[in-house]
Symmetry: C2
Subunit: 331 residues, 2 copies
């Protein structure tokens, strides 16, 4: 059973998932970045029995093997769905049982395709499945937050090559999420405006950090980007919750996400990357002060001692410069 | 000139050091982890003119080429020492000139040696140079914090193989540091006790997370370790500032640091690692609520989308298990 443990100094929670525990010698493989291109793929058609039973699927004609998209529980979940949320103290330490959900969305039956290869309507299906999974999982009131993310490439933490994204539902609001919510709330209290709406307006005025703009979405290099070529995609209309968007917007989002990832691949020669959906806590009502968005982080640099110690990031590419490079490439 | 930019939502500062800027095509090398084993080393004896002029050195007989340890400004500094601390706003954004210091401590003249290969007294010299550099740089009141860290191995962010550590002086207190100081202060206000002293006492009582204990220092696997095999070294006597320890303690620290890194190398087959000194702001007086310490992070895993989104870490090795593995190896 995984555990949640709280750092007694800064209050950060950590998942200790020791069922996935390894002997020290198992860690050698971490240094070899070429290892995951194996011959057997549990996500390919025909190997459906190698994953836990699916919780959601999209099929072409209702045929049982002709799936286009599948959602399955992670075979090695970071958090576990069964059990009670138990809280415990041990002297000055705080401890909680590792309750949660950890699901994998297999984005295609075709092992050779990557997310930006898909048609906008296929990407729309993926984005709507994220929405559907949130709407299902929020019925379980043990869960407070759902993190949707994609790790692409070994250096970005992907352990399987076949295109997939993931979702983890957590029983507490993560620290990083609380910081963002509180920062946005502070701005709203001061100005009666959403800080993300302010950012959108200001960036549209400046222009220099804009990567792409459509009727409904804006892609920018953020002013204080932590990483070279970091990109954010924001809906121009204010929505605090990803899952609450007007239904037609998921296709528009699919279009700009495809465009964004094509630019990342073209400018940076198909790098490993992470994308992360930042959204509001699933049990809370819509709010005027927070604004969901996507953050895309091409994995180009290593996190080193200075970053671990200070939480400061050193970014060797000005966001204005990365936005210009992204704009210049033809898609 | 590097810039400091503040994220308007969470208040995190970022260093945009675009003088180190690269064209997109330069990033390819990031994916090749074997590239830094070049033939030319600017840190080797005979190449002293390839680094900026040294700011500190230890020599065997006062001879000019026979140095044992050298401190030089970083040739590609993240922050720049010359200039005025200018603050500027741009709409909702905050901006500051990138003033600071970035120095490299070349830990040995011998390219083939690593830190744990050195004698305790050689490591003591390194630890005392950290102290001396803090005592010198704190006279520059533009600097508020000094981060001392070591990146060992390419995967941990080292760009040169020759054994070295680094120091960055920043003009603001980093967010991560403030969080730790505030967390410790809160505990002190509640209990009139230092939280780190409490941790030390509690861990000595439990035993299960202790890796090594000497008269003056304790090495533990922290209760809420973010990373597999993370290790902390704490002085058993309370000191808020690294540079304020009784002078004899630096040798004792050298001994346990050598022991710790030998254990890391033995258990994990010489992995890349970072170590980071967490200490109090240099311009502030000694305090009963904060306790300096070292955090050692073997680089075994990748930071992925879930961590970027939530600030939550998933650790697949229980600290009790890693402490046992560390204890078991003979040194």
């Amino acid at each position: 059973m995984p555990e949640l443990r709280k750092d007694p100094i800064v209050g950060r929670w950590v998942i200790i998932s020791a069922d996935r525990g390894k002997r020290p010698s198992d860690w050698d493989s971490v240094r070899d970045t070429s290892k995951n291109v194996g011959s057997f793929c549990p996500f390919c058609p025909g190997n459906e029995d190698k994953t836990p039973p699916e919780v959601y699927a999209v099929r072409t004609n209702g045929g049982s093997s002709e799936w286009k998209l599948r959602v399955v529980p992670n075979k090695f979940p970071a958090l576990q769905i069964e059990g009670e949320l138990v809280r415990k103290g041990e002297g000055i330490y705080d401890w909680m049982s590792g309750i949660g959900a950890h699901e994998v969305l297999i984005e295609t039956a075709d092992h050779s395709l990557e997310l930006p290869d898909f048609s906008p309507s296929h990407i729309e299906s993926i984005l709507q499945i994220f929405k559907a999974r949130i709407e299902d999982l929020r019925n379980d009131t043990r869960f407070k937050y759902i993190q949707i993310f994609k790790n692409h490439g070994v250096a970005a933490g992907a352990s399987l090559e076949h295109s997939h994204s993931q979702l983890i539902a957590t029983p507490i609001l993560p620290k990083r999420v609380v910081e963002e919510l509180e920062g946005a709330k502070k701005h709203f209290e001061l100005k009666e405006r959403c800080i993300f709406c302010d950012i959108i307006n200001q960036e549209r005025g400046f222009g220099k950090r804009i990567i792409q703009e459509t009727d409904e979405f804006l892609a920018i290099a953020p002013f204080a980007a932590r990483f070279p070529y970091e990109m954010w995609i924001l809906p121009k209309r204010h929505y605090s919750h990803y899952e609450n968007m007007e239904i037609g917007l998921y296709l528009k989002l699919a279009e700009i996400l495809k465009d964004a990832l094509l630019r990342v691949n073209k400018v940076l020669d198909s790098p490993p990357y992470n994308f992360v959906i930042h959204t509001s806590p699933i049990q809370e009502p819509a709010t005027p002060d927070y604004h969901w968005h996507i953050e895309i982080i091409p994995k180009l640099t290593k996190i080193a001692g200075f970053e671990w110690g200070t939480g400061f990031y050193i970014n060797a590419v000005a966001p204005e410069q990365s936005a210009a490079h992204y704009r210049e490439v033809g898609i």
